[in-house]
């Protein structure tokens, strides 16, 4: 649900987290984010991108440092409040869609927050419209294609009208047309978005800020044009230039 907060929606200071004692996955993260930003969290496999995202929605609570979402510290007491304001789109859409039809799944969140039937219906209509899948409303989830599943997953989150949307590898396993469609849909959503991805072209197309993580720390934080064009920086942290850029460089060189 929208808080109406226009300023800082996310505040992370000196965040430390480990699954097992002595093996820190995140060691001293500082990050803040404002309404309307679209932030790409990039980094090689296993450096803690998904862990950071899961911390934001309170799936792990044994962290150290400051972690505030929509004005509230992430703690057991505030979980319900935080989850009302943060939507999480899973990497695997099959984990997100667990009811029979698209409509039922999109209505699941608003219904759980006790909204009236009319309000639930309005939100479902709006969410389906935003991701352009109104015709799929009554379709069985198992009959959806990969691209449709991804859009339906996003609709399940949009119906909650969150302040922050977190997406874990949203472009994975999508064909070029569905990928392009997803980029258009995401660019039309104006709430704060945090997108983790290895697909740097996708990040470039959807984000106005990029955060590079490695060894549990933030290595770089800035505009996509600066970070995603820096071959040396990317390669020293296990990444490669986005295909679009490397092609340009090959041609120009």
């Amino acid at each position: 649900m929208h808080t109406g907060i226009k300023g800082e929606l996310l505040k992370i200071e000196n965040l430390h987290f480990s699954y097992e004692r002595g093996q820190e996955v995140l060691s001293g993260i500082d990050l803040s984010a404002r309404d309307g930003e679209s932030i790409g969290i990039i980094g090689s496999n296993g450096i803690g991108k998904s862990t950071l995202m899961k911390l934001l929605v309170g799936l792990y609570l044994n962290y150290e440092g400051v972690l505030e979402v929509a004005g509230h510290p992430v703690s057991k007491k505030n979980l319900s409040h935080i989850r009302e304001h943060v939507g999480y789109v899973f990497q695997d859409s099959d984990s997100q869609l667990f009811l029979s039809t698209v409509e039922e799944d999109v209505a699941f969140g608003p219904q759980n927050y006790g909204l009236s039937d009319e309000e639930v219906k309005r939100r479902v209509d709006e969410a389906l419209k935003k991701v352009h899948i109104e015709p799929l409303r009554k379709k069985q989830n198992y009959k959806l294609s990969g691209g449709e599943k991804k859009l339906a997953s996003i609709a399940t989150i949009l119906s909650m009208e969150p302040d922050i949307i977190i997406m874990d590898e949203p472009s994975i396993a999508l064909d070029p047309r569905n990928r392009r469609n997803l980029i258009t849909v995401l660019n039309d959503i104006k709430t704060l978005k945090l997108i983790t991805s290895h697909d740097l072209d996708f990040v470039y197309d959807t984000c106005n800020r990029v955060v590079l993580l490695d060894e549990g720390r933030i290595i770089a934080d800035g505009r996509p044009e600066e970070i995603l064009r820096d071959r040396k920086l990317l390669e020293s942290h296990g990444l490669e230039l986005p295909l679009g850029f490397s092609r340009t460089i090959i041609y120009t060189e």
């Binding site: 799936l59 984990s95 667990f98 029979s100 759980n112 039937d117 198992y142 989150i157």
Partner: protein, 263 residues
Amino acid sequence: MKYIEDNLKELDKLQDLQQRSHWMNQLHPLGKLLTCVIYIAVVASFHKYALDKLLLMACFPVFSFVIGELSLKNALSRMKLILPLVLFVGIFNPFFDRDVLFIIGSAQGAGESGIFVTGGVISMISLMLKGLYSVLAAYVLIATTSIEDICYALRLLHVPRIVVIVILLIYRYFGLMGNEADRIMTAYRLRAPKQNGIDYRAWGTLVGQWLLRSMDRAGEVYESMTLRGFNGDFKKERRRPRWQDHAYIIAWTCVCLLIRFAA
């Protein structure tokens, strides 16, 4: 394995049936659930020799299959695991109950010719019919009502929340475990093309992997639910019963009671 794949497809087909726009699917789930329960209770209440009345009770499944456009052949094939159990329930009755109730093909007192029908045979047939009718009634319910709607109806009947949630999640978990098993089996089969079945040495690892992966997936699904406000209760849009819903349950209750007590 084709077996797992086939079963998953069956589960999907059942969901297709549940989502049809047929008027029986649109009936209020509580009415359908109560009709099913009343029908089964009445069927079970017949005396073991009341075969004639029991035959009349076929009207509900016949009506539901014909008017509801359900395929009896598909239903019987989907219940092929349960049906033998249902049909064998009374198989020993003819051995214990040997009282002759009537003779077919012979006038009374005209001699020994004809077929002696014992109480055991009649009670065996009536038990089989009772089982068959009950299974068919339950099939009609699940073929026209989604699991979410059935659970909604159960909640309206004040069945404890925890019981309803367990039913719902077990149903969802079937598909999830089936999908995982299918993936593991396909990966195994593709790398052991000459093997017939699964090598006994691989069973332990495969089952272990299957459980671990299913648990992971189930964990993710649960996380996805809690992140969307799930707090242990499924909330559904309230549905007001229409006159058709009332008519459906009243009509079938009257028919059942009429056959039971008046016929």
